[in-house]
Symmetry: C3
Subunit: 158 residues, 3 copies
């Protein structure tokens, strides 16, 4: 039997949604599926280094001042409470030994999960390849990702 494939569009950059995406991805990879994740819009923040990304134009600088990257400091989709919510959530998860997002990113890479960073978002946000972590397998657009999707069994938009 050929290997089944799961593909996930990671559109959201919120800790809880990103965690759900990575739990599905790493569980599927551990079950022997081929997994491909396409990071676009706010989801790209997961793959950005923690350092400040300036961008090139004034507008990009303004947007990037608001829209901070780094897998370890994503906001929550609710109960953000000026940063208190994510701290509570991280503490709850640590107490139950649920892995953190940076740990899930490492697990995903160790299990061979493929990461594609969306070039369309990349360009209009003014990012540079140097702003991203190692482990990005490809910088590509939706057409490249859809080739993977069409060969796959399951696809999510998160």
């Amino acid at each position: 039997m050929p290997q089944e494939r799961m593909t996930i569009v990671v559109f959201s950059g919120e800790m809880d949604r990103v965690m759900a995406a990575f739990i599905l991805a790493t569980t599927a990879a551990a079950m022997g599926l081929e997994v491909c994740m396409f990071f676009t819009f706010w989801g790209l923040n997961v793959l950005r280094k923690k350092k400040f990304t300036a961008g090139k134009t004034l507008l990009q600088k303004m947007m990037n001042t608001l829209n901070r990257g780094g897998a370890g400091r994503l906001p929550l989709s609710k109960f953000q409470m000026l940063g208190l919510g994510p701290i509570m959530m991280k503490a709850l998860m640590a107490h139950s030994r649920v892995p953190t997002i940076p740990e899930l990113v490492s697990q995903a890479k160790a299990l061979g999960v493929k990461f594609i960073a969306c070039t369309t978002t990349f360009q209009f946000m003014g990012f540079d390849k140097d702003d991203f972590i190692e482990g990005v397998d490809a910088y590509a657009g939706a057409a490249t990702f859809l080739d993977d999707v069409l060969d796959g069994k399951v696809s999510y938009f998160i």
Copy 2:
């Protein structure tokens, strides 16, 4: 022809998103599909009883004070307006005879829709089986749910 299956990850706990999930689930079940819903993160609130769930640790008590359960009192994803939005939405729906979430939950059970409650979320939020309504078919993790997904035809993340 073997029976087709639809699976849905219910991640969101907002009235409007949960309603969309249940309309898809009950419509598919009424068309003869096998349907399996996996409730995780905020989606677990749909399956919680309306009573207050304390949790075990101080952090769990703090989170559960914010994050209230009960299918009948879910917030809206927009226009929440301190609770006025959900009241307006419920009135609009009642006027058009759209079923409420508790009614959709009952319809889903009557149509044989399978409910899985995510054990990972369950544990870090400090829930107890006693906090949940009857009708939960299984308490399990992502691996068990993915077995159902891989045998299925369609899968959504909501």
Copy 3:
């Protein structure tokens, strides 16, 4: 080989999520797939004309005062900042020559993408067919859409 089909539930009415939906839809259609989009809840705003939609009852008038339609003035899912966020995002995208939502809607129609407007939402929000743009192929419920989904290869909920 029969033509593959992609189906998308457009639940969200936010500019960034709607843009992701249309980029997937138009890319897939340009690759030769048959694409069907089902607009429901806040997603219906994409297909509404920019004019004010009153509705019939007082509650509908109240909701429609908050919930404005028109593909050209959708809010952002984050950094809304009283309307400044969408202006910044539109400027960023124009600078990179990313098409606007009204342009993506036209491209989708030119590529033969099928638009279904959800009749359930339509009714409880008090909309009228006259409130919608040309290009809506059908006004139907979830059962009609699920027929398309079950014949398809990939399905998203956005």
